[in-house]
Symmetry: C2
Amino acid sequence: MTDVQNKPQTTAADHGVAHMKWWGWGVEGVAFHHEDKPGFAPFVKKIVGVELTQGQHDTGLDFSQLTVPASRASTEVVDSLVQIVGPEHVDQGDHDRVVHTYGKSIRDLIRIRAGILERVPDLVVYPADEAEVQQIVDLAVASDVVLIPFGGGSNIVGSLEPMPTEERTVVSLDMGRLSKVLDIDEDGGLARIQAGGQGPDLEEQLNARGWTLGHFPDSFTHSTMGGWVATRSSGMQSDKYGDIADITKGLRVVRPGGVLAIRAVPSASTGPSLREMIIGSEGRLGVITEVTAQVHRLPEKREILAYLFPSWHDGLAAMQAIAESDARPSVTRVSDAHETAFSFATSKASTGISKVVNDALPKVLKAKGWDVDVMCLSFIGYEGSPEHVAQTQKAVAKIVKANKGMGVGKGPGKLYDQKKFDTPYLRDFFMDHGGAADVSETAAPWSKLRAVSSRVYAAANQAFDQIGVQGWIMGHLSHSYHSGACLYFTFAFEHGEQAEAEYDVVKHAIQQAFIDTGATVSHHHGVGLEHQPWLAQDVSAEGVAVMQGLFDSADPGRVFNPGKVTGA
Amino acid sequence: MTDVQNKPQTTAADHGVAHMKWWGWGVEGVAFHHEDKPGFAPFVKKIVGVELTQGQHDTGLDFSQLTVPASRASTEVVDSLVQIVGPEHVDQGDHDRVVHTYGKSIRDLIRIRAGILERVPDLVVYPADEAEVQQIVDLAVASDVVLIPFGGGSNIVGSLEPMPTEERTVVSLDMGRLSKVLDIDEDGGLARIQAGGQGPDLEEQLNARGWTLGHFPDSFTHSTMGGWVATRSSGMQSDKYGDIADITKGLRVVRPGGVLAIRAVPSASTGPSLREMIIGSEGRLGVITEVTAQVHRLPEKREILAYLFPSWHDGLAAMQAIAESDARPSVTRVSDAHETAFSFATSKASTGISKVVNDALPKVLKAKGWDVDVMCLSFIGYEGSPEHVAQTQKAVAKIVKANKGMGVGKGPGKLYDQKKFDTPYLRDFFMDHGGAADVSETAAPWSKLRAVSSRVYAAANQAFDQIGVQGWIMGHLSHSYHSGACLYFTFAFEHGEQAEAEYDVVKHAIQQAFIDTGATVSHHHGVGLEHQPWLAQDVSAEGVAVMQGLFDSADPGRVFNPGKVTGA
């Protein structure tokens, strides 16, 4: 892979906002390659039968092949928007409208690669500040125009696409110009951050003053503050920093006629939580313009250590024991046997993980008699004062040992830390070779995690059989809580002619397995359109009705991203 | 004081649910007395001019003096309720109806002592289980009857009283018979707890199996699981266990036609949080019947240590430094100079606090030259493994020292821990002697706490001047968070003829001071009726409108405790 740059490049330089490739993840010119990972191609060939050494196209797809439906925006609406933001910040061009049509789920990528563009936003508008957002919102309500707020475009549950039957003008409201850290209250670590700021840009602004948000979702390089809040995101260091719902203290949300402003106080007893209604609202309650977020001083010390466990069962038991203990690591993560094998296969010959395979592994096999096929790789992170890091590592080491695990040093964790945001590039590469791959994630109490995992494996394998493919599923635990944890699954197969339908079969099987084992439909990806079929099974029909009532009362004109979350 | 019993006594034995005194706090036969606290009466005489050595009546007030409005319930509604719960669980008696008319704010106590009973519930119903609650709810909706859920009756913001203009039948739905810990998932520490269980009863059930909820609000002895959730309660060990919003993982809420059920998962991304809409809803979204709560293994070790700081400024600085550090105590609390003086004055001659006064204080004054009038007493709690407790105490000691404080041992903390739930009895005793006293609490970022405190003092003193009384205000910090903390104020004065109006002047001055300094209207008492005037200033007019829309859509018939929180 060409080194991934920390700052996304601008593909639409005229309005100064960077976007991802229209057909896939990340920035133009960066792609996954496997030449330096000798084990990878044979591994993929073995598990899903896909031949990676043939048929690659590195340079992306041909935009000119697309048939983009014309914009339906009336001159009146366009003129009004131009009046508000200036002509250079209203874009009716095909490229920009296509970039704003989908997120980056496999369903989105299958469709865009197939040239399916059912309903494309009629224009994209780039406001400069909250006052302009207010004018746009008021215009939309007055003119019966649909508004879909757009952050980094990394959504993978269908939250960004216009409803196919929408006959009104649809405006994609790109928040990319609102990207500043406005202020830091250094006593409480409260940073006022504009909603459109993308991960690397915001961290750079915070780091420069000695602070970090500590929020690092897999989408970090191409997702935004507002998007994290709107979808209830969670980052890999959530064990220390919390989910975005914990990090979000204050909010400003533009609503028709005014701003819904929630003070950044540490905790409040002021009725049902408006903060927690906005979080996860996916644009349906208005446009988030500003978040007052809990930030932390950059830690004195930061380390991610790797461990091996003889089985998934032992790895889970260790994570549970850590969550119950007084130890507070910043990251807890353990891969199941499949994902462990995958990690070993994708490592470069020269890297830390290969070092585990070459150095630690033979020792383990010899000394402990472990079965390499069920062994599990774990990463545990530590942050804080050197004393705290040392105490926590000591406490964790004791728990790891009690659960039959062993430490394998700093090398693999360091590498994991550097490369953790690169995985989505792999998916595009895999698609180039006829593969389909995506993720499903959930959370459940500790008592249910083993059942969730087994049921998901059984369901996925049954689905692979049903569509007649050789499929692969793997998973890991991450984001530990006192009561349970998140399980995160990746599945892959070589798709046939009906890629989207085949994907649906697998995705549905896995999501239903979550619900049937008492887990949630999503731990941190949101609902959008893709997770709607399970929402009532998760939060009950009465719950969906109350949520629908909230949307209907807050947005009687159905202006704000209608159809998402609840479907109506 | 007669020893406070851990289990409230039943005052209405026929339906098996214990209630507090109709005229004041706690159980019959228990009251505050000051004979063993030689410094107390002179202190009170000095600060508010109230003479405690005269005019006491210990035995309560005379119920027969009250004029209780007759029940307006139709025979039809009564018969239907009797059908559902049985005749012994529908009470139309005056005593029971009066007990269910108010909570226990000073405004409530002033009114009940004056015999003011504007609108009394027409009857009280005691369902046995969720199925009966469902039938009651469906009946209420069908018959246009108002339902006010009632837990322990400890509310102090006016959430329990019927609206004075309500012309429909008003039913107080007493949840006291649903008081069981139904189940504990011992892996995740998830306990299914019925909403009507009171603090001591629930802790006893949990303790018997080795668990604790860790939720100890001041109202603990007479408040319930459902009440804590409905008002966004917080307990004194929230630094470790979290606020009730953190503790609450799953919920069951009876709504017209069915149960809104939220799965107990550690975290979920399923749209706006229904869990966080129910929390704080004060009965307006339905009837909470069951909470799945995060419980914890009883800690191996538990200690509360006392510290002294030379000033409020230093005490706050120390608490902030602890919150920012890697140390995780279970309690952080520091009293300001006034409250410190009050603590010293209320201590028994033989207790730990007196020991501080007698032993540590002269030493401090001599060695450090502190000013006893501005010195501040602090309690910090520690829970967990002996190793964790030792590490945390060591880390805290370092911070205390860096902020000019000094440790004064275990004695005072032990006493504080034993007596922490007794304070409300003192208020009744004070009222017996012509005094009025109540509390106002808030939360704000660390950067604003000093300004909140000064402004509250100035506002309260100005209010005392306005009504022409000698008043007293004191406060403490408790419930620390990374971004800020709760400040909790107690105010007292000798009231005149217009006690309620005088109270209003002081209360309004303090609440407005919160708002004007960027703090919230309440950290953990809720909104009810008393905090409504500041809600829009706190969460914005747009926020109140969204909340009102939620209530209106969820309860178009205005059956569920109408008028509370938002006023409409």
